[in-house]
């Protein structure tokens, strides 16, 4: 049969995909054990689950309650995009040694052009098997590798290679013959398009109700009718179902003058100033492109230190990057780079953004957050004004960090560098119990600087905490900055060990809840035989 696609416009791609990557990352960081039933939650819903949890019936998209009903002994972990990025970094590095250029879609998902590497390693299958072995060795996580013409077919092949994480397979390979994409997709359910985020759920539901259950059925419709009925998005889905890419890449070489960079006069050792500069660069770049009616779909982000160390990553976003999305990628990349073992040995002197693939803006790039309300528009403008007035560092938005101490659980990042339209990643807390964290209620007052207090027993001696986390004496008086309050109730101590794997950052704190006769309850902590206020319930 004649393939209805043009071989020029659909490059042959390799997709490496790790299912439930957030769980794999949590395993690698030690937050959960590999064989226990565990799930990662974002905004109260399961985004990833372990094989044991999958066997118990936990699926992505479930509410926390439903997941716990399926599996009462389920361990819940909060989603942490930074952890996902850091854990994936070794995979990116190793694959980057095999292939000249790769694109990161998100942590746990990367693609690259098959042509050169495949020839070098002795064919698509040999290359794919080599990748499976490599990733499995580095992460211990299940992985699927798909090789096919076209981005979407390749992505689906990678997913089908690990379609059944419940089974014994730890990963696999699926290779679709050149020119075989349409035939490969034809029997597959049309719901794959929803799965990959390439078609909206409502359209897919309509197709299923109309009896268009397979990709083949959708592809068989005349394109003009699909476009007339479902608009631009329907036309894109139709292309995908035919095994073609929705948005063929612009074949022209990247325009060199599009590159934007900043050189720091003084080397910078922390992430946040670099992210700030990247924000300015991204604003300028994306605005310039938008003025020409173009979006950047593939972006090369580079940073270098004074000693010549360098990080270089290509990020891919099918619908094109917004400026906040660029900034987020830069933050992920720098976090992973600086947070790697050994870190960097000198300050960062240059950061560079270089669009590698541009395409016409097709209007299908609305923010994930749905539209903005008038209040949102006003607030975004107010943020800009306030940042100019008070300094960009002074205007902040909360980010969920997670942790066991009140001061750690939420942080504040400059609003100018946050994606105000899509706060879900930054606030993906999900209300999941962080193991060992103090549960509700949270203190209304969290000291911004250490506040030392005295906790005394009835003889006026400081109350101590023993090696096994027991109180030396009953607390009777709490002295806060000159005021002495009588302790009327208390509970604890609950020990918490922080960062025990890192001797430089390791902390051991015993927490105690104390209520005094002034009607204020406090969370206090003992560290190095001194007591500190960790939070106040005011």
């Amino acid at each position: 049969m004649f393939a209805p696609m043009d071989a020029w416009s659909t490059p042959r791609l390799v997709t490496v995909w790790c299912p439930d990557w957030p769980i794999a990352a949590a395993c690698m960081s030690g937050a959960v054990a590999a064989d226990e039933p565990a799930a990662v939650l974002r905004s109260g819903r399961v985004v990833a689950r372990s094989a044991a949890a999958a066997r118990a019936g936990v699926v992505a998209g479930q509410l926390r309650r439903q997941a716990q009903r399926c599996c009462p002994e389920l361990t819940l972990v909060d989603h942490d995009p930074g952890r996902d990025a850091r854990s994936f970094e070794p995979v990116v590095r190793s694959v980057a040694e095999m292939v000249p250029r790769l694109d990161l879609v998100e942590p746990g998902w990367l693609t690259f052009a098959a042509r050169g590497p495949s020839r070098y390693f002795g064919g698509d299958t040999a290359l794919a098997e080599r990748l499976v072995g490599l990733v499995h060795e580095l992460t211990g996580a299940p992985v699927g590798v798909g090789v096919a013409d076209g981005r979407v077919t390749s992505a689906i092949a990678a997913r089908r290679a690990v379609i059944d994480p419940v089974g014994a397979r730890s990963g696999g390979v699926e290779v679709v013959e050149p020119g075989g994409s349409a035939g490969y997709l034809a029997p597959l359910p049309v719901t794959w398009l929803r799965e990959l985020g390439d078609a909206d759920a409502a359209s897919v539901d309509v197709w299923v109700r109309l009896g268009l259950r397979t990709m083949g059925a959708l592809a068989a419709l005349p394109v003009a009718e699909v476009a007339a009925r479902f608009g631009r998005a329907g036309e894109l889905a139709h292309r995908l179902a035919r095994g073609d890419d929705a948005r063929p890449p612009v074949v022209a070489d990247p325009v060199p003058d599009r590159r934007v960079e900043h050189t720091f006069g003084d080397p910078v050792v922390s992430v946040s100033p670099v992210v700030f500069v990247a924000k300015q660069l991204a604003d300028r770049l994306i605005a310039e492109l938008a003025a020409e009616g173009r979006v950047c779909a593939r972006l090369l982000v580079t940073a270098e230190t004074e000693h010549g160390e360098r990080t270089e990553r290509t990020w891919y976003r099918d619908a094109g990057f917004s400026a906040p999305a660029v900034v987020e990628r830069v933050r992920w990349q720098l976090d992973a780079w600086i947070g790697q073992p050994g870190g960097i040995s000198a300050g960062i002197i240059v950061v560079r953004l270089e669009p590698v693939e541009l395409r016409a803006a097709d209007g299908v790039q609305a923010g994930l957050w749905g539209g903005r309300s008038q209040a949102d528009e006003d607030a975004v403008r107010a943020v800009a004004r306030l940042s100019a007035l008070c300094g960009a560092e002074a205007v902040r938005v909360p980010v969920w960090r997670g942790g066991r101490l009140p001061a750690e659980r939420y942080g504040w990042v400059p609003a100018a560098t946050a994606d105000l339209d899509d706060p879900s990643a930054r606030l993906a807390e999900a209300g999941a119990p962080w193991s060992g964290a103090i549960t509700d209620p949270a203190p209304t007052v969290v000291p911004t600087e250490p506040l030392e207090v005295e906790l005394l027993d009835r003889h006026g001696h400081r109350v101590s905490v023993g090696g096994r986390g027991e109180l030396g004496a009953e607390p009777v008086v709490l002295a806060v900055g000159g005021a002495r309050h009588t302790v009327t109730a208390w509970a604890g101590p609950w020990p918490v060990e922080q960062a025990w794997w890192d001797p430089r950052r390791a902390r051991r704190i015993a927490r105690l809840e104390v209520l005094t006769d002034d009607g204020v309850a406090r969370l206090v902590g003992a560290e190095h035989r001194r007591w500190w206020v960790l939070g106040e319930y005011r």
Partner: protein, 252 residues
């Protein structure tokens, strides 16, 4: 559905659009006010009153936060009251700017219902009065809810300037004493000077009368009984109410 009596005569008289005297909630109604009431509306007007959680609606004269209002929260439990006061409006789409209150617990805010997606904080020292006021004025231009730490020595003229803008923009300003946080020393609950002056519409004083869940050596901090006294420039006498706060939910 609640009934609200609008005293439009006094409102017109001294140009206090949406001021506390304008709308008097039935529950907190004094008989003497009924006589001046000119119109009856069946529910609160969303363009003029931002919603608060139900138990607090019962004690606020307008059943909500009247746009343009300045509300001072005082007392040892002012922080939790301020958050509870702003929670419903924040959850229903208004943005909240927290000015000069770096010690405020974000998690506690979320727990009582504040939407952190629409919360921003401005790090500014409340003792720098002019910079503080400038930040509030700028924030009021785009943000409907303002929560600010107010320095005890803040001159009235500075607050007046902020208030003018808050009114012009239809925002709501809730203040906390700057010293309410742990770092500022103990809660100076007696700090009331200046808050009865003309620049504040309502004064809400909050105390925690009882804590549940914590024993002598056992338990966990659980819920609390919150006592709130509401006083206003045009309220004939303060109204006191008691609430239970458990797991972030306020109930009478």
């Amino acid at each position: 559905m609640r009934t609200v009596v609008r005293g439009s005569l006094s409102e017109a008289a001294d140009g206090d659009p949406g001021g506390v005297g304008a709308i008097i909630g039935a529950t907190a109604l004094d008989r003497s006010v009924v006589g001046t009431a000119a119109t009856l509306v069946s529910h609160t007007d969303p363009d003029r009153v931002l919603p608060v959680v139900d138990p607090l609606a019962e004690v606020l004269p307008a059943g909500g936060l009247v746009r343009g209002q300045v509300i001072a929260c005082l007392g040892p439990s002012a922080p939790v009251l301020a958050l509870a006061l702003l929670a419903r409006a924040s959850a229903t789409g208004s943005w909240l700017a927290v000015v000069g209150v770096p010690w405020l617990g974000a998690e506690a805010a979320r727990e009582v219902g504040v939407s952190l997606e629409r919360t921003l904080a401005i790090d500014i020292d409340p003792r720098r009065h002019d910079a503080w006021a400038e930040a509030l004025v700028a924030a009021a231009d785009g943000v409907e809810l303002l929560l600010a730490a107010r320095d005890a020595g803040l001159p009235d003229r500075v607050l007046r300037r902020v208030r003018t803008r808050v009114r012009a923009r239809g925002a709501v300003l809730v203040t906390l004493p700057a010293g309410a946080g742990a770092v500022g020393g103990g809660g100076r609950s007696g700090e009331r000077t200046g808050d009865r002056t003309g620049e504040v519409d309502l004064v809400l004083t909050a105390h925690t009368d009882a804590w549940w869940g914590l024993g002598r050596g056992h338990g966990r901090v659980g819920g609390r009984r919150l006592r709130v006294e509401v006083a206003g420039r045009r309220m004939p006498r303060p109204v006191e109410s008691s609430f239970e706060l458990r797991g972030g939910a306020l109930a009478t």
